[in-house]
């Protein structure tokens, strides 16, 4: 693992905006005093006249983004997930979602891997909140390659998009030469008949690592990367459930309302199958180094292996 390149997806977000700024001259970026942290500062350096700081006022920022979109611009409203989906939920619902405006929300510092800042800033609820808004697209990329592709896909999609990025540097496992991002389509990364591991965001890499260990132990797992949580790829989920008869979801988000719930909705309606969810249980996080927190909350390859092994044995 030592030689694997690691990049935080928030960094990918900032770099992608700066790169795509040339190609899409209608792209504008809004920030709420966090340009250095959300990495939109990279865009600001290159396109200072297309970056607008709104100060520490996220509710107003979402409205300003709506106004820009209503007059033909493509605004990226950037702040931490806690404030984008949490504080400004109602502005996102009523000023962006209801009029179905072409606003892109770049939410960084999502999940428990925010680390030392602790529970007030560890947003484990954003996917659940955004899923309830009609017409909202939700993308949770797994690595640098996928995150950059997601930003361009968001530009090409007409309508509101919520993108979720992390603070922690994570391994780049996708090959930029061959990777293809298709909005709303899951990606099958391994094919096995014992269990289907469906992961999203930073947990995809953990699922890939877990699959290798499981295979060494004689358990064959299907691994699916769901980067678009809404609209979700029902077909790939149903196919994997039919093949394995056992589904395990893994996400760096509350087990209430996130990927696990979205998969449960699909399974309940189309292919009732036993489902186990790994995620942040119904509790708040706390301070600590991100990597240690992820382990402590069971968001690791080791816990996926343990959980999957027990579930397969109990089949």
């Amino acid at each position: 693992m030592a030689d694997v390149k690691k990049i935080a997806t928030r960094e990918s977000y900032g770099n992608a905006l700066a790169e795509l700024g040339d190609k899409y001259d209608n792209l504008y970026v809004l920030d709420a005093d966090l340009a250095a942290a959300t990495k939109t500062g990279i865009f600001k350096k290159k396109f200072p006249e297309r970056h607008f700081d709104c100060g520490i006022a996220e509710a107003n920022m979402m409205g300003v983004a709506a106004g820009l979109a209503a007059t033909g611009k493509i605004p990226f409203a950037s702040t931490f997930a806690m404030f984008a989906a949490g504080r400004a939920f109602e502005q996102v619902r009523n000023s962006i979602g209801y009029p179905h405006l072409n606003v892109k929300i770049g939410a960084t510092h999502a999940g428990i891997s925010v680390g030392e800042d602790g529970a007030t800033h560890q947003c484990n609820e954003d996917i659940a909140l955004m899923r309830t808004i009609p017409g909202m697209v939700i993308i949770n990329p797994a690595d640098d390659v996928e995150a950059k592709a997601a930003v361009e896909a968001a530009i090409l999609h007409e309508g509101p998009v919520y993108m979720r990025f992390g603070r922690l540097a994570v391994p780049v496992f996708n090959d930029p030469a061959t990777y293809k991002f298709e909005l709303g389509k899951g990606i099958k990364l391994a094919d096995g008949e014992d269990i289907a591991i469906i992961a999203t965001g930073l947990m995809v890499n953990e699922a890939i690592e877990a699959e290798k260990q499981l295979r060494a132990n004689g358990i064959k797992a299907t691994v699916i990367n769901i980067h678009t949580i809404k609209p979700i790829d029902e077909d790939i989920i149903v196919e994997a459930a039919k093949k394995t008869g056992l589904v395990l979801t893994v996400e760096e988000h509350s087990v209430i309302g996130g990927l696990g719930s979205a998969v449960a909705d699909v399974l309940a309606a189309k292919c009732p199958t036993k489902l186990i969810k790994i995620g942040v249980n119904d509790e708040f996080g706390h301070s600590g180094p991100a990597v240690e927190l992820l382990k402590q909350f069971g968001l690791s390859a080791d816990n996926i292996v343990k959980t999957a092994t027990e579930a397969v044995k109990a089949k």
């Binding site: 100060g55 509710a59 107003n60 409205g63 300003v64 209503a70 007059t71 009523n94």
Partner: protein, 280 residues
């Protein structure tokens, strides 16, 4: 103001008020009081001030309007219908199931530039539209109307800071100071006073206006156009329920529809006023 234009606007405002009463009566719910208090302002904007195109409601160069106090949608709908954006018959099905006219403004309705109704949000959207015009060098202006109770929302002041910071002199925010909100007198519920001083302190150019005198209205909006590098707040002194005797300055008409008898009385008062205007 030119006497002919003034008469025309007074007649038009009367028709707008009749449409408000008709809409709210047929809906059996809605907000007549605050709709009547902004009827003259909307009439002036849509019939004398704003560049709008009823046949091409999405014309990119049009002036924009955001009704931040979205619950007074009947005033906006009646104004738009009278201006020719859609048939005045639509007012009869306001708030009905399957109707075009929703309880609060919806962006899909011809002439409505933004969905609104959750208080405090419209002014932020208006800021975004004004910033957008500045970015592109577009000449259109952005107008928004807020309630005096609405400015209790914190988001209004986030937007007020933003508009001054980015020198949005193409933005005019009208505050409809009728002095009443659902729970009573704004002074008693949660005083937003002094409103003029607050906007001045936030870096706005502030104009005070009589909301029911077209000379005062014209003067205020003309002055607004001369202001550079600052957003403009027009604090309009208005009468809630203006034009219908039993609704004037009576908070119980904030969010209540008239019954059949009350509807007939309101209608006959407004029709009498209209007939008098048209006769002279």
């Amino acid at each position: 103001m030119d006497a002919g234009l003034k008469k025309k606007l007074e007649i038009q405002a009367c028709k707008v008020r009749l449409g408000i009463i008709e809409g709210v009566f047929n809906a059996k719910s809605g907000h007549p009081g605050g709709s009547l208090s902004i009827a003259d302002t909307l009439t002036y904007l849509y019939f004398a001030k704003m560049n709008v195109y009823p046949d091409k409601p999405d014309e990119p160069g049009r002036d924009r309007f955001v009704l931040s106090k979205g619950h007074t949608a009947p005033a906006l709908y009646s104004t738009l219908a009278n201006r020719g954006f859609f048939s005045t018959d639509e007012l009869k099905s306001l708030r009905h199931i399957g109707a075009m006219l929703q309880g609060h403004p919806c962006i899909t309705i011809p002439g409505v530039d933004m969905s609104s109704g959750s208080l405090g949000q419209g002014i932020s959207v208006a800021c975004g539209m004004a910033l957008s015009a500045k970015i592109s060098g577009d000449a259109y202006k952005v107008y928004t109307v807020l309630g005096d109770g609405e400015i209790q929302e914190g988001q209004v002041w986030e937007a007020a800071m933003f508009a001054a910071h980015y020198k949005l002199d193409n933005l005019v925010a009208v505050v409809d100071n009728n002095g009443l909100q659902i729970d009573g007198n704004i002074k008693d519920v949660m005083s937003p006073y002094p409103i003029v001083d607050k906007f001045k302190a936030f870096g706005w150019h502030v104009i005070e206006m009589d909301a029911h005198d077209f000379d005062s209205i014209e003067k205020a909006f003309n002055e607004a156009e001369t202001v550079c590098n600052q957003p403009v707040a027009i604090i309009q002194k208005s009468v809630k329920g203006k034009g219908v005797s039993f609704m004037e300055n009576n908070v119980s008409w904030h969010g209540t529809a008239p019954n059949a008898e009350q509807y007939e009385q309101a209608k006959s008062e407004l029709e009498a006023a209209l007939a008098e205007l048209e006769a002279n």
